[in-house]
Symmetry: C2
Subunit: 392 residues, 2 copies
C-alpha cells in the first residue's frame, strides 16, 4: 500500500449564500486549495476527483455532479465521481480518494464536498436531511434527526447521569472556538445560561444543541507520499483511515449510547496508523447535535463509556485543554454543509498541523497527531482519519 | 498495486417488477452472487461495499442507501457507500471497489448496483434520467437523452455516411442475443424491417433505437488475486480499469461523433492491462441508444473513426463474429437498470469467461480477454474494464 499525504486544502466560508450555487462554492474552495500548495501544482497532474454531496445542490444536478464541477474548474476530462453517505459524504470522498492514491492507481487526487442547504424552503431543507434516515421505519413515521439524536441524549442521561448542562457545555465551547475561525458560520460566543435556555426543539435539545443549515464547499489535495516534497516541505500524512456502517434505524442497533460504526471505523484507522487514542493531540469530531460530540468522546476512545461528560467538566477538550476537540467550532458553530463537512475537517487539520491557523488563540501548539470523525445520518455510517504532521 | 480478481457475480433478471423494491432486488442479486462462489465464502470477510445507484429507488432512500442495503442482506457493519455517476454508477462502483482491493485496504469487496425505474410515473422516470444531463444548458432547456444521442447519430450520418439501417442492425443483433439470456428484459427477436419502422422518438431514432426503462440489480465480488484460489479454480482477473469524464453538455465537447471520456478511460485500462483492442475477444458496451454502440466501436479502438458501421455490415460483432459485442443483449434488449448496468456487464463477462453462459448459442468459445464499457449520461463519464480468463 502506497502512503498518502495531503499537500493542499481549501474551503469556502460556511454560511448562507443565496447568490452562490454549487459550482461557485466548489470553485471557491478549489481555488483556495490550489493557492495553498506551497510550490504550486500543474492541475493536469490531478488523476481523479471524489466529490461528496447528498443533495447535489438541493436537486440541482442529481446525476453526474462531480464531472460538472470539475468541468467548471477547468478539468473536464479528469476521472470524477460523486460519493454519497448523507452527512458523511465528504468523509467517504476522502476515504475513496485515499484508496485510489494508496492503490497506486493515481498519484494525485482530489477529495471534495459541496452542499447548498439554504436556498430552499425550510421544508425542502428538512426533506433533504430526512431522506438519510431509514425511510420505512423513521422518515415516513415522522422522525427527524433532531428527534433521533434527542432519544440518544435522553438515554445517555438515563443510563449515565448526563445533565442538560453537559450538552450546553459542548455548544458553549464550540461557539467560543468558532469566534477565531474566519471560515465559521457563527462567530459568536454564547453563555452557558443562554445555551441552556434556547427555544425547545426535541427534549432534551433546544436550538443551541443543533448544528445549523449551511452552504459550503471544501477540497483537499492528496498525493502519493513519495512525491509530496515536490509540492511542499510541510505535507500532512494520512496515516490511517477507516469506515464502517450500522443499521440506519436506531431501533435495530445494539446500543443508543454508542455509535458502533464510529467504533469500528476508529479501530481500523488506529490500527493502520499504529497509534491509539492517547496519541491524538486534537480532533475534529461530528457534533451535528451536542450529544454527538459526547458520544464521539466515548466511541473514539477518548473517554470510558458513560464518562464522556466529565471531559467537559475538566475542560479537557477546550482549545487550551489536553485534547482540543473542534477547535474550528465544529458542525455546531463552524457549520454543517452536509457533503462538505468531512473534507472541511481535513482542511482545518491541514492548517493546524502546518501551524497556519493564524489567530494565536486558535492555533494548537506542538501537535503531532490529529483525528477527524465524520458521521452519516444518526450513525448509519462513519469515517475516521488519522493525520500526522509532516515537517517534523 | 495488488492484483484484483472477481470470484463471484449475481444479478436479478432485468425487467418490470412492480412488487419488488430496491432492497428485494439487491438481495436477490447478492444471494445469487453468494451462490456463485465455487467454494463458498464467509460473508464476514467482506471488507467493503460500493453500490451504484442514481435515483436510490426513485427517491426512496436518497441518503445512505448503501448501508441500508447491506443491513438488509445481513452485513450492517460493513463499510458501505453509494457511488453515483448517472448511468455509469455501476461501473464507478466497480472502479472504486477495484481501487480499495488494489490498495490492500481490503482483501474482499463488493461492487453492486441497483435501480427501480418502473414503479414511478413515466414523467418521474424521465425526470430521474433527465437529471443527469447538464441542468442549466440541457435539462432545463428541454433536452432528453434520446434527443442528445439523436444529435450524435445525425452528425455521424452527416460526416461518415452512416445509414438509418446501420442503427437498426445494432437493435436486431442485440435483440437476437437477448433471446438466449435468461436475465434479459426482452427475449424477443425483431426483424430489420421492424427495427427500421418503429414509432418515431427523435430523428433518426425510433423506439427500437432506445434502451428500455428497467428495474434490476447486480453484484460482483472482488478479492485480492493472491487469495482468489481459496474460493474458486476459475477466477476472472480484472487486468485493467480506467475512468474519465467530459463536459456534460454536448455543445461544450470537441466532437459529436466520439466520446472522449470513453477514449481516455479505455486508454488507461488498455495500458494497465498491457494489451490493446485487437486482443479483446468479446465486449459488453454501453448501447443506451443504437448510435452509442457504434460510437463505442470507434472509441474503444475496434474500428477506425467513421468506419464503425462497417463492422455491422460484416457481422464482425455478431455472437459468432470475430468480436462479439453485447452477447447479453446489451442495454437495448437485456435492459438498462441505470445504477446496476455497469456491474451487470461484469456479471455477464464473469459467466462467459468461466464457460457458464450455458445456452450453447450464447456461450463465446475460447475467449481469453473481455472488455466492459459503461457510460454516464450522454458521455459525461465513462468507465472501462478489461478482464482475463483465470483458469488457463
Amino acid at each position: 500500500m502506497e502512503s498518502v499525504a495531503i499537500i493542499g486544502a481549501g474551503q469556502t466560508r460556511y454560511g448562507d449564500f443565496p447568490n452562490k450555487g454549487v459550482k461557485e462554492l466548489f470553485a471557491e474552495a478549489y481555488l483556495e486549495m490550489l493557492q495553498s500548495v506551497d510550490r504550486g501544482i500543474d492541475q493536469q497532474r490531478i488523476g481523479a476527483a471524489f466529490i461528496g454531496s447528498l443533495s447535489s445542490g438541493s436537486g440541482f444536478q442529481l446525476g453526474q455532479l462531480a464531472p460538472l464541477l470539475m468541468g467548471h474548474v477547468g478539468l473536464p476530462r479528469v476521472n470524477a465521481v460523486r460519493i454519497e453517505n448523507a452527512c458523511g459524504s465528504g468523509g467517504y470522498a476522502l476515504f475513496n480518494a485515499a484508496c485510489a492514491v494508496a492503490s497506486g492507481k493515481v498519484d494525485i487526487a482530489i477529495a471534495g464536498g459541496v452542499e447548498k442547504m439554504r436556498d430552499v424552503s425550510s421544508s425542502k431543507g428538512r426533506y433533504w436531511l430526512g431522506v438519510s434516515g431509514d425511510t420505512e421505519f423513521e422518515r415516513l413515521a415522522g422522525s427527524t434527526f433532531a428527534g433521533i439524536y434527542a432519544l440518544m441524549a435522553a438515554r445517555y442521561m438515563h443510563e449515565y447521569g448526563l445533565k442538560r448542562e453537559h450538552l450546553s457545555m459542548v455548544a458553549v465551547k464550540n461557539h467560543r472556538n468558532a469566534v477565531a475561525n474566519p471560515k465559521a458560520q457563527f462567530r459568536k460566543e454564547i453563555t452557558l445560561e443562554q445555551a441552556k435556555k434556547g427555544v425547545p426543539v426535541a427534549y432534551p435539545f433546544n436550538v443551541w444543541d443543533c448544528s445549523p443549515t449551511t452552504d459550503g464547499a471544501a477540497v483537499v489535495l492528496l498525493c502519493n507520499a513519495k512525491i509530496a516534497r515536490e509540492f511542499t516541505d510541510k505535507p500532512v500524512y494520512l496515516k490511517g483511515f477507516g469506515a464502517a456502517s450500522d443499521y440506519l434505524a436506531i431501533h435495530d442497533r445494539d446500543s443508543m449510547t454508542r455509535l458502533l460504526a464510529t467504533r469500528k471505523a476508529a479501530a481500523e484507522a488506529y490500527k493502520q496508523a499504529g497509534i491509539g487514542p492517547k496519541d491524538i493531540d486534537f480532533a475534529e469530531v461530528h457534533d451535528c447535535f451536542t450529544i454527538a460530540e459526547i458520544l464521539a468522546y466515548g466511541d473514539l476512545g477518548f473517554a470510558e463509556e458513560g464518562k464522556a461528560q466529565y471531559l467537559l467538566e475538566e475542560g479537557y477538550t477546550q482549545i487550551d485543554g489536553k485534547l482540543p476537540v473542534n477547535a474550528s467550532g465544529g458542525l455546531k458553530a463552524k457549520g454543517h454543509p452536509i457533503g462538505a463537512t468531512g473534507c472541511g475537517m481535513a482542511c482545518e487539520i491541514f492548517k493546524q498541523l502546518r501551524d497556519e491557523a493564524k489567530e494565536p488563540s486558535r492555533q494548537i501548539k506542538n501537535a503531532r497527531y490529529a483525528l477527524s470523525h465524520n458521521v452519516g445520518g444518526s450513525g448509519g455510517t462513519a469515517a475516521v482519519f488519522i493525520y500526522q504532521r509532516g515537517d517534523a
